[in-house]
């Protein structure tokens, strides 16, 4: 008994001066195996952390997943050290999750990026399950959203706690690989198709997992057998063999994965959940809104398509901006890459001076949501609000909104949109057109390209030149939506006809697209916008927009003013007098006849389609069918993977031939026994060198009950140790027995074990010196 400072006595468990082996003392030193476990788990988990990188595009994914892994490792390590119960570890994990969730996963909700606020905790709880969906459904750089980072953070934390915990404390350590692999799988499934370092990640994971598992198993076996091992020497030689075998396997695995990684892994083959959950927006599914123009303008002329409240006077109600022309149609295709999936709020801040437009849909139907521009937010009402909101996309460049669910009559929604600026021409004269912002590849029909230089007059400034071009169209052209004189459409043949006819006759569709193409021919970007605006409106009152209010105009981007609208369409009452026949057509002094147009069918669209289809065919012709390619890959990969096994089989065959051929006849008979010993080794039965032939034969007889190895061993002994050299006939007879014995041994085991024995390198790795005397 001893007394402490308060004079109380306390029991002393050990004699003073003796070594105290209390659990606490022993726990303090971190043994090497456990340090290796932790490091191996960290490497394995790091591959999962890296998998989360591309989907966030910046460091936030790494920070969330990596932070989670480090925290989880710390929790598991401390739990193992202090011997916490599973419940305590779970509680600590939860506490850590809440405490560090703010800075690592939801920094925008914290104070100064560190201190969690009630909102942080609130959102963490909700996002614990919602984030999984969110990460899959938001547009790809997920870092621009608040919330999805909870997925890498949570999975990193939980997987690390489980992996490190199992590695350090589990009864079956190898189960630790499951959570480590889970993190990688989650990272892949919730990631993107493009994964720059996928091959490296896979290789690192596999090699580390194999190496660690091998080491762990060996360590366990060593511990299990510690009491059986008589000397360290046998143990180390076995270990050395094992290390060599492991190195060979790892080299093969690493080599083949590196080789195959370059050839086989391509982005299109990668499966990610995103593919299933969110079908990628393919704008080719939706016809260009421009093709509906004449339908609105003529067929729905009197029908109220929308009733809009809050539309500022003079502002335009945009449906879609189209910037891609392929010779057939102007479409939003070129900008589709920028279509992002959005929620009800777009952008962090509402644009200055934004107005809220309340829209009630009349006879309009379609996926394009009118009301685009610099949109701050969209909210739908009614029964389909959810599906409309879920399918909502926004292209910030063109200010176009789209909902894959499609608007239907009678639905209501509100759009917060900033008014388009209306600069004066004086301001614009000092401004300059943005170059390089539009579609760089100008695909202008030859007819338009040929006459642009004549049609467009040079101006004092860029705006002046465009205004002149605009007024030229208004001046020269006539308006008609009558299919007999002015067919609908704006394919290049139609546009060529517009210029090559005696008079320019068309509607918004043709004039706007012609001007846009001419502007492009001049070297400026331009786009075509479909929208609605009333002739006149009273501010503050709802505006009923009819089909008659549909318009198409041209927009050209200026550096300061942004997109400036141009209306090249002649007034609608300036119709060609179709009733007056021929005489009118010939002399038209006020119309400046365009310079002799090139041959009529300049560039028939069929050609183009032909072209494109032939190139497609060519590509197809060059391309190997995918099935063949996959088969080739599989065959190549199979051959590569099988090559080590084939080498093993060949080496064994060579060894067998050598044993049967080389040396004295007695040695050839001994070689037959070596063959049996090696067959047994491949089947998992090791024969110590100290055993004589008959002793090992008795061992085999116990392991392989159906065969009679003892008799064979006795006969061999008679030949080897008996007097006189055996004859070649004896050798052949013994080898016949060796073969039947080998087959009997392999037949007596399970087919899987038999197959494994065929390709097992074990017998090749055994360091067997020839047991020869003198």
């Amino acid at each position: 008994m001893s007394t402490d400072s308060q004079g109380r006595t306390r029991p002393q468990l050990t004699e003073p001066g003796t070594t105290q082996l209390t659990p606490g003392r022993r726990r303090r030193a971190l043994p090497v195996p456990q340090a290796v476990d932790v490091v191996a788990m960290l490497v394995l988990l790091a591959t999962g952390v890296v998998a989360f990188g591309p989907v966030f595009a910046d460091a936030s994914g790494y920070a969330a997943a990596g932070g989670g892994v480090l925290l989880g490792t710390a929790v598991a390590a401390v739990g193992a050290w202090r011997r916490w119960s599973a419940f305590a570890v779970a509680a600590a994990t939860l506490a850590v999750f809440v405490a560090f969730g703010g800075p690592l996963a939801l920094p925008s909700t914290t104070l100064g990026g560190v201190v969690p606020t009630p909102e942080t905790v609130n959102r963490l709880v909700v996002l614990t399950w919602q984030a999984w969906r969110d990460l899959l459904t938001v547009s790809v750089p997920a870092s621009s959203f608040t919330g999805p980072a909870v997925v890498p953070y949570l999975s990193g934390l939980v997987c690390a706690v489980l992996a490190v915990g199992l590695a350090l404390r589990g009864r079956r350590h190898l189960w630790a690989l499951a959570p480590a692999a889970t993190l990688l799988v989650v990272g892949i499934l919730w990631g993107t198709k493009t994964a720059p370092s996928a091959a490296v990640q896979g290789a690192v994971f596999c090699v580390t997992a194999l190496a660690w598992a091998g080491w762990r198993t060996a360590l366990q076996q060593h511990r299990d057998n510690a009491h059986l091992l008589t000397s360290r020497r046998t143990n180390t030689s076995a270990q050395r063999q094992r290390i060599v075998a492991a190195a060979v396997v790892l080299a093969v695995a690493g080599g083949s994965s590196a080789f195959l990684g370059s050839g086989m892994v391509s982005a299109s083959d990668r499966y990610v959940l995103r593919d299933d959950v969110v079908p990628p927006l393919d704008l080719r599914d939706y016809a260009s809104p421009l093709t509906r123009y004449r339908y609105y303008e003529r067929d729905q002329k009197e029908k109220t398509l929308f009733t809009v409240t809050g539309l500022p006077e003079g502002s335009r109600f945009r449906v879609a901006a189209m910037d891609g022309y392929d010779g057939h149609v102007f479409s939003v295709d070129a900008a589709s890459a920028q279509f992002r999936r959005v929620g009800s709020r777009i952008g962090v801040t509402t644009p200055d001076g934004a107005r809220t437009l309340d829209v009630e849909v009349g006879d309009y139907e379609g996926v394009w949501i009118p009301g685009g521009g610099d949109v701050g937010g969209v909210s739908f009402e009614g029964s389909r609000a959810e599906s409309l909101g879920a399918g909502l996309y926004y292209n910030a460049d063109s200010g176009t909104l789209l909902s894959t669910a499609g608007l239907q009559g009678g639905e209501r929604y509100t759009v917060t949109v900033a008014p388009a600026p209306a600069p004066t021409d004086e301001q614009l004269a000092k401004d300059s057109i943005v170059t390089g912002a539009g579609d760089a590849e100008v695909d202008v029909p030859d007819a338009i390209a040929g006459i642009t230089s004549d049609f467009a007059e040079p101006g004092e400034s860029q705006i002046d030149q465009l205004r002149k071009l605009e007024s030229k169209f208004r001046e020269v052209g006539f308006y008609s939506n009558d299919d007999t004189v002015s067919t609908a459409g704006h394919f290049d043949g139609r546009l060529t006809a517009l210029f090559s006819g005696a008079r320019m006759i068309g509607d918004d569709e043709q004039y706007a697209t012609s001007m846009a193409l001419m502007v492009r021919q001049l070297g400026y970007p331009a786009r075509v916008v479909l929208g609605f605006y009333p002739e006149e409106s009273t501010p503050g009152e709802p505006v009923a927009l009819t089909g008659n209010d549909a318009h198409v105009w041209v927009e050209v981007p200026f550096e300061k003013a942004g997109w400036v609208a141009f209306d090249p369409t002649p007034d609608r009452d300036k119709t060609p007098d179709t009733k007056v026949p021929k005489p009118d057509e010939v002399p038209q002094p006020q119309v400046l006849p365009p310079p002799v147009p090139p041959e009529e069918p300049v560039d028939p669209p069929e050609d183009r389609t032909d072209d494109s289809s032939t190139t497609k065919r060519d590509e197809k012709g060059l391309e190997v069918p995918p099935a063949v390619r996959i088969a080739a890959y599989v065959a190549g990969a199979g051959a590569l993977l099988a090559s080590p096994f084939a080498a093993i089989v060949l080496l064994k065959r060579r060894r067998r031939a050598r044993r049967r051929r080389d040396g004295r006849t007695a040695d050839r008979i001994s070689g037959g026994w070596d063959e049996i010993v090696d067959a047994a080794a491949d089947l998992g039965v090791r024969t110590p060198a100290r055993l004589t032939r008959q002793e090992s034969a008795r061992d085999f007889a116990e392991t392989f009950p159906t065969v009679g190895p003892v008799a064979v061993a006795e006969r061999m002994d008679a030949h080897v140790f008996g007097r006189g050299e055996p004859s070649q006939a004896d050798v052949d007879e013994m080898w016949r027995q060796v073969h039947s014995l080998r087959h009997g041994m392999s037949r007596s085991v399970h087919p899987v074990r038999r197959l494994r024995a065929v390709v097992s390198p074990r017998s090749l790795l055994i360091n067997r010196r020839p047991r020869r005397t003198t």
Partner: protein
Amino acid sequence: MTITTDQAAWFADSFVTLTDNVGQALLGKAPVIRLALTCLLAEGHLLLEDAPGTGKTALARAMAATVQGSHSRIQFTPDLLPSDITGTTVYDQAQARWEFHKGPIFASIVLADEINRASPKTQSALLEVMEEGHVTVDGTSYDAGRPFMVIATQNPIEQAGTYRLPEAQLDRFLMKTSVGYPDRASAVQVLAGSASPDRARSLQPMISTSAVAEMADLVKANHVDDAVLDYVQRLTEATRDDSDTTLGVSTRGSISMVRAARVWAAARGRNYVLPDDIKELALPVWGHRIIMSPEAEFAGATTAAVVARVLDRVEAPMLRGAGV
């Protein structure tokens, strides 16, 4: 000179016959009997160390009864004199000459009971006759005859009133083994027949002394491959190199091993010796020849452990020897 497979088979048959015959007197002890017969045919001597009452004497008597020859028994006591073993020369007054009266050692099979109770002087009297097969008394040499086999028994050396056999004398025994208690079935059988305590008396002699000598001569020619000889030598060296021993197996020890192994192999019907024979005989032939270091002995190590370790470390040969 060599022996044929037929001769080996005949040898094995005879050996089995002898084993069975002795086995009638000593139930359930075939391995010990085989070792004893191997000693007899290898012309060596056997030391049995065991607790009293395990059948040591019965074995010796049965052996003697099986061989058609003389046998004697010497009970060793502390006051036993060398001449009590070898015999004395007395003066025959009628003939007026010295006459040699042969001691009990002049027999085919001599049972030396409790050999370690006699004084070292008396023990050493056995030395000459065991090694050389003749006795010299008063300058005259008397041949002990063939076969000549000493079966000595000794009580475990820890017992009181014993003189430990010197190493030199131990080395002259070809084998040392113990009989041990019989298994239960045999023991019950022994008890059932306890009315006639000496079963050895009822045994019929199965083999003449000349036949024994013939067998012993034949087996000397049994083939031992160089690989096996090399194996014996490597094992011998390993006993000398072992850290627990001060003295390993002597050259006489390895010669004895080969001698015994030739018989052992022939007893199995083989006209060649296998490494397996060496392994089986290693403990009985070598166990008593290894001198443990005092530290190892203090730590409780035994010669049996040394032999087992050596057999474990030395690789058994698989290939035929290269030839000398």
